[in-house]
Symmetry: C2
């Protein structure tokens, strides 16, 4: 297919999943300069087709040369598939933007939130990792504060929606809620416990240090993205009965004290952040306010009463967008714009 | 009415409310040594009767001599009524155990969680205050850690159930949830925002420092109960779509480091605490596990990765019991047992 310099061939790996669908939506909304689009998924999705911009695309199982002629692979098919197929895609000439945990802490792989550490993309070697959703919305807020006042400690407690656990988890919350209000039984299938009208302080596997993998991801990924390998940071990750939208109660300590008013100004001036913070008028973000929105929303900014240089804040974002699809497409756009695709690098 | 030395006359102010009902349940369960029981409520409850231990009691509007012959008044009728009637009750010879915010920070009034600072009861002057529910479960856990290792900082984020906001709030969560799963409209009446499938980082009024009154109560009440007036402590209070059971993500810093294993041992040996902490077997408390239970449950105890002397933990309790009824009745029992009623003190 003939194409202009700026147009790129994109494959989506895991095209029929929740994030795959969201990726297509974001590519469409942002009018991404697509030449060819290839939709890949496991055998389960065989014989299905997906419509994109009024055109029907077959969903293919990844063949041996699935990535040939592709410039970018947006991978959302889980850790194992990514580990298997990403090196192959790179060999065949594509850049892989991976949404899984497979390569995030690999020192050779940039872990990038566009607008926070985009410069790391300039040294990519073919694979680029997209951070965990709860990390992404956190670093968007931490970075501008760090730049002005120097982060010395971060303490986060999360309130994470079920959509972070996939489509089946969203169905489980709905069906279990329905069952409970109708006094019927509903045994958990996806979650370890009842999630409707309940909380589960357990996301992903438990590790030997008593943290969950989700919590350790937030800790290690934040350090890597901010290039602060020794940043004192801790996290508690809790699943809440909310459909979409992750919230975080964040306490930061800074090298030098800044007032809540200064923090509001710094954050409001940062790209990708909306400050909704008018306590007297009950202005603050809640999860249902942010569904389908791109920014990270910050409210409840106030002095930490337990530290002279601390601030507390409340950070809410649409985890499906900020955490996966939107940042992946923004990375793709950045690669195109800065001529960082394989075709550019190889010539 | 003739009565033995140990038997006491109790009035319940706000007897038909949610906490009033729970108070009666706890008095019954614990077989409190009641002589006379007087049930008081506002004019709205006129002409109703309440059954207690197979006996029917009329609900009376508080008259001018409503508290005469009473030894103890369990007050759960809100701040304004408490301010009005408590001095009168004391004048008429009763001790008032007040569940409202009216007297908690009054330096002449002991603010007591039995088992944490019961000794403060020995200097009461007639009125005793019962702390806010989110404070109670917190101090039960902080006290034994402080006694062994010295608290130097506390950071709490709460996940508070709607029952903390009263019966109408519980109804609103149920009705709003029903409406949403049936795709019907339901405008919030009790809460500032939609609470079903959502979170509201706003409990009680906002104050000038950007904190809510709920958050400042946790801060000031904890300092008073632990007798640590300068304890660095901060709180973020969030309402979650859970019916009963408050949860808290708690980070503490200590004078000297203790291991998670030591913390588990210290807490397990403390009265009123159950340690449920087996991450590898997914053992941790969730709100639905603790409904109707007396203890404070602690899990997810682990080293704070952001501090050498810090610990993180997850604290869950039935807010209706620990926060109001159970502690009020325990205070009453303590007064009887230690002969701290007015009749004892006056003689």
């Amino acid at each position: 297919m003939a194409r202009s310099q700026a147009q790129v061939n994109v494959a989506i790996l895991g095209a029929t999943g929740r994030v795959g669908q969201e990726l297509l939506k974001v590519l469409d909304e942002r009018d991404f300069p697509l030449a060819d689009l290839r939709l890949l998924a496991s055998a389960r999705s065989k014989d299905t087709t997906v419509t994109f911009k009024s055109k029907s695309y077959p969903v293919l199982e990844p063949s041996e040369d699935a990535f040939k002629t592709m410039d970018i692979v947006l991978a959302s098919a889980g850790e194992e598939i990514s580990k298997q197929l990403s090196p192959l895609a790179v060999k065949q000439g594509a850049c892989v933007i991976d949404n899984s945990n497979a390569f995030r802490m690999d020192s050779a792989v940039p872990l990038v939130v566009v607008g926070v550490n985009s410069q790391a993309l300039h040294s990519h070697k073919g694979i680029i990792a997209n951070p965990n959703c709860s990390t992404s919305q956190l670093v968007v807020v931490l970075k501008p504060l760090h730049d002005v006042a120097g982060l010395t400690r971060v303490i986060v407690s999360t309130y994470q929606s079920v959509s972070g656990a996939g489509k089946e988890a969203m169905d489980e919350l709905e069906q279990q809620t329905r069952a409970i209000v109708n006094c019927e039984d509903y045994k958990p299938k996806v979650f370890q416990r009842q999630i409707a009208f309940n909380l589960i302080p357990h996301i992903d596997k438990f590790l030997d240090n008593g943290y969950t993998k989700e919590e350790m991801k937030m800790i290690t990924e934040t350090r890597k993205i901010l290039e602060l390998p020794h940043l004192p940071i801790t996290a508690t990750a809790v699943r809440v009965p909310v459909v979409i939208g992750h919230s975080e109660s964040v306490t930061v300590e800074l090298d030098r004290a800044i007032s809540p008013a200064q923090a509001r100004e710094i954050l409001a001036d940062s790209p990708g952040i909306e400050v909704w913070d008018g306590p007297q008028e009950a202005v603050y973000p809640t999860p249902i306010d942010v569904v389908g929105e791109d920014p990270v929303y910050v409210g409840r900014i106030r002095r930490d009463t337990s530290s002279d240089t601390g601030l507390n804040m409340w950070v809410v974002a649409d985890n499906l967008r900020i955490g996966a699809s939107l940042n992946a497409v923004r990375i793709a756009e950045y690669l195109v714009e800065h001529r960082l695709l394989k075709q550019h690098i190889s010539t």
